[in-house]
Symmetry: C2
Subunit: 198 residues, 2 copies
């Protein structure tokens, strides 16, 4: 029951941050949306909105990493995983009426120069996605350094296409990104296979 | 003198939005930073903060489009333009202590579901960058549809690497992005040259 209230607060906050950003969301809106008193919010998050922001970033970070890994596992090949990931994001975005699929990028930009705990939480979330994609790409035979670069570009492109797609109310940027990232992955694999092992 | 005050208000607002986002910035902070009274802000922007946000998006949108075109003109080749653009962004970011180089992406995510005038202004700014890059790529011989896709990915990657680089306090994501976008452009040009014209 306690865990239930805590989860309800995180879920409600997550959605409010996705709709209207971190600074645009007040504790009283969170209280109303989560059907929890302000006192109860402070009980679970003594650090108030900032601590709640860290919790939202951590749970979302974990959720997206698991989503990526599960899509990657089910895809017929390494390059196809990226097409599938962006296609899935497009479906979620369109179905939700173009609410931000991810609260992390918005919070990160709002607070990167203002709140060190939130910046660090966002940085850790992105780093966990980059590690997951790097692992996926090295498993496909791509050398580590190149895999890391591609993983950075993948994560940056996810965050960037969320901005473009929401602003333009179109899933086209996500589809283009899926094709382009997938293309870069295919090329990197082809090159690796052409390079003779020493 | 009038134009000077208006410009001063826009410049100060731009920097506040880049540091702390749209919702995190109050009219009284803008008034102080711009050394202009609240009355003077309403004189130039009768619509208040939202109208000022639209003006900041429009001027920044124009500025980045011109910056891209000037970098593209000076680059030794089409693919090199993208490496140079991301390298320049990295320099600006590091020199400014990782303040956001662009207020548009943050505002876009904060307000895309809340303020239609701000969403439309951001959408127009992104569309003008996409058009500029599409022109640049079609001039390099890439077919229009493919050029448009690459241009979308370029703009998304710019916005996405700003998030990553700021959050991680590192210019590495920008450098990886420069190399990857440049690579995609080179490949598209190579393909075009291999395809016999009908």
């Amino acid at each position: 029951m306690m865990a239930e209230t805590r989860d309800r607060i995180i879920v409600a906050t997550n959605e409010l941050f996705r709709r209207q950003g971190y600074n645009g969301t007040s504790l009283s809106q969170i209280s109303e949306a989560a059907n929890a008193t302000i006192g109860s919010i402070y009980h679970f998050f003594p650090g108030g909105k900032e601590a709640l922001g860290v919790a939202v970033i951590e749970t979302t970070g974990e959720m997206f990493r698991e989503l990526f890994e599960s899509i990657a596992n089910e895809a017929p090949g390494p390059a196809e995983a990226y097409v599938a990931f962006f296609a899935g994001a497009g479906t979620v975005l369109a179905e939700s009426g173009y609410i931000d699929p991810c609260p992390i990028g918005t919070i990160a930009r709002e607070v990167a120069n203002v709140s060190e705990p939130l910046r660090v939480a966002a940085s850790n979330a992105f780093a966990s996605w980059i590690s997951a994609a790097t692992r996926h790409l090295t498993n496909a035979g791509i050398p580590t350094e190149q895999a890391e670069q591609l993983a950075h570009v993948f994560v940056a492109t996810v965050e960037g296409t969320f901005v473009l797609s929401r602003t333009q109310r179109s899933t086209a940027p996500l589809e283009s990104a899926g094709r382009c990232v997938s293309r870069l992955v295919t090329l990197a694999i082809d090159e690796t296979q052409r390079t003779p092992t020493p």
